[in-house]
Symmetry: none
Subunit: 199 residues, 4 copies
């Protein structure tokens, strides 16, 4: 995922993957210890035992670094296929909720703000996060349609907002505990499925 400018020419010393790991670990530690805003590049470098240049060789800005470190490479890599629309949606929602709830306090809101401030980061966010979500939801709807589970086929963007929004709001607007997420997502699936109409 990282590796922004891969060497075209195979000559030259190759990137040291231990440096990637050290950076990622330092970022995660510091996010936990000091939070998104107070994380500094100098401290990441020091903590990782790495020069700042090694970081900037991999990540264009502090924001992209954090995004790239936190977003799992395998995020929604395969669309779940559990046999029913509800089960598929539940699986997707669980993975999304997990990705939101895992990073340390304040990281997700901080990142979202920077996504809105930095066009380059926005592009990466759209590509690596939103696009994957939309493709996965579309695939799930395709399968449900094939199964005859849907009377009306909802708009994927609307469905996306209806599913992800409450989880985000629960965690980052209301700042409620992640422990309440299961109950929330259960109600959320009931409500959403009411829209698609029972067969």
């Amino acid at each position: 995922m990282s590796a922004r400018k891969q060497a075209r020419n195979p000559g030259g010393r190759p990137r040291d993957s231990r440096v990637d790991d050290a950076i990622a670990s330092a970022v995660r530690e510091l996010l936990t210890e000091v939070g998104y805003t107070r994380l500094t590049m100098a401290e990441v470098a020091a903590r990782a035992g790495v020069g700042k240049a090694a970081i900037y060789r991999r990540h264009a800005t502090k924001q992209e670094m954090i995004f790239e470190v936190l977003l799992p490479d395998q995020f929604l890599a395969v669309a779940p296929d559990c046999g029913s629309l509800r089960a598929d949606l539940a699986a997707v929602l669980a993975e999304i909720a997990d990705t939101m709830a895992s990073p340390p306090q304040g990281t997700v809101p901080g990142l979202l703000a920077d996504v809105h401030a930095d066009p380059a980061l926005r592009d990466r966010f759209n590509e690596k996060y939103l696009g994957v979500q939309r493709r996965t939801l579309t695939e799930i709807l395709d399968r449900a349609t094939a199964r005859g589970e849907l009377t009306t086929r909802p708009d994927p963007a609307t469905l996306n907002a209806l599913l992800v929004g409450p989880v985000f709001a629960w965690l980052f607007l209301l700042t409620e505990s992640p422990d309440g997420l299961p109950a929330l997502t259960s109600a959320l699936l009931d409500a959403t499925l009411a829209l698609t109409g029972p067969v």
Copy 2:
């Protein structure tokens, strides 16, 4: 709204209310022109024709300044009473959506990030924004219960997340156009009301 530290001593020169207005206007202009992150106090002061001290006398930090300038004083001042649960929720949701959609690009996510970073701002946010929302929703539920519209009385926090979350996600995660909000909120109300059970 403003006036964080009211003069204890009535003696001395009174605050100039034109300064308050000039600051508010400058903040709104700059949010539109350069966005939340690139707005600086020095530029607000220059644009408003005001000293930085005059700003800090009114607002403790940059973040509180923006929050106080943007949040309408009358936000959800009176709970709507339109005769039905759906109409009441629609009215509340419309006002909330409007408050979210009005500020310039990136302002709401920026503010939300700072709410997570700054405990003092979080207190103000809880008091002036979240608390009002929850109180209003509770009152609406009370009325609906009295009318006999509810078979099960939902948890206010869950309801809050179900209603506000999708609007937030639509605007700030998916970055879809505010034009799509009416369709979204309509579906949203349908789905949410399906939970409360038809009478």
Copy 3:
């Protein structure tokens, strides 16, 4: 001498002269302790108990800062008038030699290199150092001419090079001790005066 951008408008907090002094002292200390090359702005700021911005408000670059701190404000302010050409030249030469020998090891060569690398610094150097020297020498020659001490009037630039060059070479090319300067300047004056011809 310092004060690069003087406030046009008298409004605003005035510069704190203690900051000027603290910077100058820190620069002198650090030049002595670590030398020209290893002096860093961050350390100057720390040593002076001052923010870096306070330094850059006064001095455009590290090089100009050192130049402005080291060059005495009164350098050759008044041309000596001792009654004879030789005495006048001796006085000027002593002051120039003193200005060269005073700064800590390596400072003068370092500064001279930067003068050749930075046009802005070169302008300041020409104005504050060379110009003053040439004007002073010209004035001394004028007086000697009026006294009838000169058979041929030497070119001021040549005279300048003949006088200052050996001192510079003694200190910075040969790296001989400043203790040898009196003997050198004495021989130097004899040689130079031989050119102008005895009356």
Copy 4:
């Protein structure tokens, strides 16, 4: 000149002399184009079509590299013997002046500054440049003494400063044109010889 660490073991690939030449050419080009300070090792390597390691295999530091590239191998290899003290001094002075005036703008002052900052470079400078000068001057004085041209035998260091200093000052303090050097050196010899006394 080059070859700082000669291979002890004759095994292994020998140095490629074309690499030496390519480095020297690149250094000279870049000194002319960007000057001493802005010359970087990476750019020298790129220009020479050479790896940085190949440079550092030959030269310990950037400063030594430049010094070694610029100082002629044959600098003052043989003391001139022109039949008179003045002619000998003129020949030495011309060669020294030429060595100073040849390198691109700013190179000599830059190098001199680094000589004062780096003890290792200073040693090389003393050995390859100053020592040669002093030995040559001493030899010339010996011959002049044998010829009976000297009434008083001047101190070699003083003579060195008196001769070389004005040339240095002319070029690097006053930044006058090298075209003026012949006139300067002529006056300089007159003045200096006046000290040694006519026979």
